[in-house]
């Protein structure tokens, strides 16, 4: 036994090694392929990324060349470091450190020594570059922003990460691709197709010419330019109006569904995410968890819509035939349902018919209409689902299918929602349990984008195009077909006129009477949405959100708009004013009410936003 132990171990080892070698060399063929990857060099030829223009042909985004000084450590020969450092404006220690790092990375592969020289530095350096063997200048293409707004619309480009590379074999390490906004949505259009060259390497790892006589090589295809539906002037103006406020503005052209402006506030300068400072700036934006500049409130913020939703309640009521335009409803300071239960209302004359009900935003009126709509059917379940179907036809409760990569579906509650909440069939529930839906509170949540969409549908008297941001793609001159299809709502055309008349009266004598724009017939609706947050674990009510929807002109709508200002208090205080300025700017091109403009431009809600973080008790709605 003692004689045999080592002998047996030696023999077992031999057999195990033979088995391992058989596995590696004969059984598993994947290694041959890996070896091929090593021995054939692939060089990519990157095409220029497509330009981005606004609807009027103004250039928003182009490309700028960027010059990196690269080094191949193996090819270095002794050089005048003093002169070299002088040319590059760096000190010698940094150069030595950078060279050391490059050498550690790989002596034969290029590494950047100084990234992203300016054009001037490049011009100066390129004359002398031939003196420094082993160094060369690599030209890359970076985004060049002609504007300092629209960052949320445009998005940004960044290097592909492992997750993307795994998912899409087109991308290699170091490739750039669109990460947000239009850059991401139209990535394949903008990027073009990169060209590939296969280079055969010899046993000394030198290039010895094309592989298989260029049979597999391809030529790069330039990225296509795209034109957006955004009006750069309006967009920029919107961002200025939203300075020091949080929320969003979204404006559509009702006749086409084209997005004229998509303002999310706070925003940032898109140039921040280009060049040497990119990662520092991105980190700063990413970790701003209080004002969340990277959060697109227009597309991703789900809010209770508040009073603008009443227009839909009215339309559904008319369509279902539970009310006509003449019938009046009394308001006793609110809507009573059940014993001692009341949904309050503000002071206004009473009773009111539909048109005045909208203009005065009477809660009692719309609760009555809503209750009748639900109770028209034998069970509240059927009633709710029927009501819901009408709303879905306006594009609500869904991602909508617009051509931007971020978004939320909002929420339109269904019978299932309430069955779950009230534990049906153990307990029953009735229309009154859902009464807050009538006035856009309760379970209904919409994004500002959805609000503008139903506004546009009302402006069109019953139909809409899906909102989209692409105007055309150069060369193809087409946009995706879903944006050419008309979507019809479930409401008949004749029911829109009385509701629009009510919305027009909001400006005539209603809640936005002081915001009339001379010469433009605007229809709108104010909204004031209650909202809550948590401070130290307790539910705390914050100042109401200021909400406003509008379209103009009344009979030939050119613009539909939704404005949302977080904690802006009542609807016409901030949102209504901003909406009226935007409409005036778009239709007239200039602002006549300079005082109002100045007030909004300089107005700040920062104090309001600081309140929940102050650690002190605070008052709301001041």
């Amino acid at each position: 036994m003692r004689k045999l132990l080592l002998l047996v171990l030696v023999l077992i080892t031999g057999v195990v090694f033979a088995g391992r070698l058989f596995y590696l060399q004969v059984y598993d063929t994947s290694f041959q392929k890996l070896s091929e990857n090593n021995a054939i060099k692939v060089i990519y030829d990157y095409p220029q990324r497509g330009y981005i223009y606004d609807r009027n042909g103004e250039l928003l985004v182009s490309n700028q060349p960027s010059y990196d000084v690269m080094v191949i450590p193996r090819d270095l020969v002794a050089f005048d470091t003093l002169e070299f450092c002088g040319l590059l404006k760096m000190n010698k220690e940094d150069l030595v450190k950078a060279l050391e790092k490059a050498k550690n990375h790989s002596p034969r592969l290029p590494s950047p020594i100084i990234p992203q020289l300016t054009k001037a530095e490049y011009a100066y350096l390129s004359e002398k570059m031939h003196k420094y063997k082993g160094f060369y200048i690599l030209k890359r293409s970076l985004r060049d922003y002609q504007i300092d707004h629209s960052a949320n619309v445009l998005g940004y480009i960044a290097e592909a990460d492992n997750k993307i590379i795994k998912k899409n074999p087109y991308y290699q390490m170091g490739d750039l691709l669109g990460k947000q906004g239009v850059e991401m949505q139209y990535e394949e259009v903008l990027r073009g197709v990169k060209g590939v060259k296969y280079i055969q390497k010899d046993r000394f790892n030198r290039d010895i010419g094309p592989y298989k006589d260029k049979a597999f090589d391809t030529i790069p295809e330039r990225g296509k330019d795209i034109k957006l539906t955004i009006d750069a002037v309006l967009q920029e103006y919107g961002e200025k109006l939203m300075a020091n406020k949080r929320g969003g503005i979204v404006a559509l052209e009702p006749a086409t569904g084209e997005i004229l402006a998509l303002v999310a506030a706070p925003n940032y300068d898109p140039s921040l995410l280009v060049g040497r400072e990119r990662s520092k700036n991105f980190t700063k934006l990413w970790y701003d968890t209080i004002s969340k500049p990277l959060f697109d409130r227009v597309l991703q913020g789900e809010y209770p819509p508040g009073s603008p939703f009443k227009a839909l309640t009215a339309l559904i009521g008319l369509q279902e035939g539970v009310i006509d335009t003449e019938e009046t409803v009394s308001c006793y300071g609110g809507f009573r349902y059940g014993r001692n239960r009341k949904l309050g209302c503000h002071a206004h004359r009473s009773p009111l018919s539909m048109q005045a009900g909208i203009a005065n935003s009477c809660n009692a009126y719309f609760c009555t209409v809503y209750k009748r709509t639900i109770e028209k059917y034998p069970t509240p379940q059927e009633g709710i689902d029927n009501w819901r179907n009408h709303l879905l036809s306006f594009g609500l409760g869904d991602f909508m299918g617009y051509d931007l990569p971020s978004g939320r579906p909002g929420k339109i509650p269904s019978a299932k929602t309430y069955n779950a909440v009230y534990q049906y069939p153990t307990y029953k529930w009735y229309a009154t349990a859902t009464i807050s839906n009538a006035i856009g509170q309760g379970e209904v949540l919409l994004t500002p984008m959805q609000m503008v969409n139903f506004t546009a549908a009302i402006a069109n008297r019953g139909w809409y195009y899906k909102p989209h941001i692409i105007k055309n793609i150069s060369g193809a001159d087409t946009i995706p077909s879903i944006y050419r299809k008309k979507y019809q709502t479930t409401i008949d055309r004749e029911h829109f006129d009385p509701v629009i008349a009510g919305l027009f009266d909001v400006y005539n004598y209603g809640t936005a009477a002081h915001l009339q724009v001379p010469g433009i017939e605007i229809c709108g609706k104010t909204g004031t949405a209650e909202n809550y947050t948590r401070v130290n674990g307790e539910r705390v009510q914050l100042t109401d959100h200021s909400v406003f929807i509008a379209f103009a002109p009344k009979d030939d709508p050119k613009i539909a708009i939704a404005v949302f200002v977080e904690n802006g208090y009542w609807g016409s205080r901030w949102a209504g004013r901003i909406a009226s300025l935007m409409i005036e700017k778009y239709i007239k091109g200039e602002i006549t009410r300079k005082d109002l403009e100045t007030f909004i431009l300089n107005g700040s809600l920062e104090e309001e936003y600081a309140k929940p973080y102050s650690d002190e008790p605070f008052k709301i709605n001041q």
Binding site: K3, V10, A18, L21, F31, S35
Partner: protein
């Protein structure tokens, strides 16, 4: 067995395998080290040319070894051992630092690595001690002395630091076991080595957790059958964790950063510039891409592209795998197995205990090198940097193994003189 005189007495089977391994080794070093900087075949600065010089010189060395009386090696084993220890100690004063390890003497243009020669010296000393009539390896006192003989050079080599070479001294457990050491020591040695490496590789916390888990499992399995006390298990666990902690303490507090770096290189923690297991990965790719018959001599794309780090030395076997394929590598594996089996056979047929212990030591050392190196290169074992005998580039290594092997051949040739 009929045996002649003079050269005929030499074990030609072993010598032929030796020459085959050295020859194949050089062919592969040539391929692995070939690059565009060579000015011609006789370029003194080229690695393959240097190795050829070492090989030629080792033939001279062989003649010298064989020319000496067999008795010389037994008589002078203690002196050889002491000289070897002194040269190892001298490194701390005169040694030259190469790649973070102070393992070399530099004389003129040549570097000599004394740890490669210390193996043969230790084998001689161990043979001499165990072969002594008064030594009974079953007694604890004598076991302790034998362990000291083995441990001294290993302890001098460890802080150079060269943990790979020190690890090889574990091979001496095999000849001692052959001569009567209890099986328990083998288990213990294996366990401590595993504990040592896993402490450095995974850290104290994980190792401690593992120990507690294993002890707990064994306790709960045995609880019903045997009346064992919990305290015994706790003590075993405590001793193991203590060992792990002391390894960790010495590593972090006694060693300097350069020592730690060297350890980490050996453990594959540092050279991983391109991610976990880069070396092993490239080595597997090179071997795996060889297929049945390989890409042909000097045609290996991986070898030429220098994708495998340290390819002329520790990773030389990957060149064999790529350029000679499965058939070529299996020939090399068979040659090594045949050599070690033959050495063990020679050891067993020695009539003196000295020669037998020495022969067994040679077989065990060759086995550990072969096992660890090929295991590492084929991705079966973690990265531990020790050379493949007769194959890897390096003069000291080649000479060390040549001396090791040919002293055995010399002893075997005089076998009949010993009654």
């Amino acid at each position: 067995m009929a045996r002649g005189r003079g050269f005929v007495r030499l074990d030609w089977f072993t010598i032929i395998i030796y020459l085959a391994l050295v020859g194949i080794g050089w062919i592969n070093i040539y391929s692995a080290s070939l690059d565009d900087s060579a000015t011609g075949f006789f370029d003194m600065s080229q690695i393959y040319f240097k190795q050829l010089v070492w090989i030629c010189l080792s033939l001279v060395l062989i003649i010298f070894i064989l020319a000496l009386e067999a008795k010389f090696y037994e008589r002078f084993s203690s002196i050889i051992y002491i000289v070897s220890l002194v040269t190892l100690l001298g490194l701390f004063v005169f040694g030259k630092n190469v790649n973070g390890a102070t393992s070399w003497y530099v004389l003129g243009g040549f570097s000599i690595q004394p740890s490669e020669f210390a193996k043969a010296a230790t084998a001689l000393a161990l043979g001499k001690y165990i072969g002594d009539m008064q030594t009974n390896i079953k007694e604890f006192k004598h076991q302790l002395r034998a362990f000291i003989i083995i441990a001294l050079p290993a302890l001098f080599i460890l802080p150079q630091p060269d943990p790979g070479s020190a690890l090889v001294y574990a091979a001496f457990i095999f000849p001692m076991y052959r001569e009567g050491l209890h099986f328990f020591y083998l288990l213990l040695g294996f366990f401590l080595a595993a504990l040592f490496i896993s402490t450095l590789a995974f850290g104290v916390v994980w190792v401690s957790l593992g120990i507690v888990l294993i002890c707990g499992l064994i306790y709960f399995r045995n609880r019903k059958r045997k009346k064992t006390k919990v305290i015994n298990y706790l003590m075993v666990a405590a001793v193991c964790i203590g060992f792990s902690l002391s390894v960790n303490y010495i590593f972090n507090n006694v060693f300097e950063q350069r020592h730690r770096d060297r350890f980490n290189i050996v453990l594959g923690k540092e050279t991983d510039a391109k991610g976990i297991g880069y070396n092993t990965n490239q080595s597997e790719i090179a071997i795996g891409s060889g297929g049945w018959t390989g890409k042909g001599w000097t045609q290996g794309t991986q070898t030429k592209g220098n994708f495998v780090p340290e390819q002329q030395t520790d990773y030389i076997f990957s060149t064999v795998g790529e350029e000679w394929g499965f058939l070529g590598s299996i020939v090399v594996v068979i040659l090594f197995v045949a050599l070690i089996v033959r050495v063990l056979f020679l050891a067993e047929r020695q009539k003196s205990q000295f020669s037998r212990v020495y022969g067994y030591s040679v077989g065990a050392i060759l086995f550990v090198h072969f096992f660890v190196n090929v295991g590492m290169v084929t991705g079966l074992l973690p990265t531990v940097g020790i050379p493949l005998p007769f194959f890897s580039y390096g003069g000291s290594g080649l000479w060390g193994f040549t001396i090791l092997l040919f002293i055995l051949i010399r002893l075997d040739a005089s076998n009949s003189y010993y009654a």
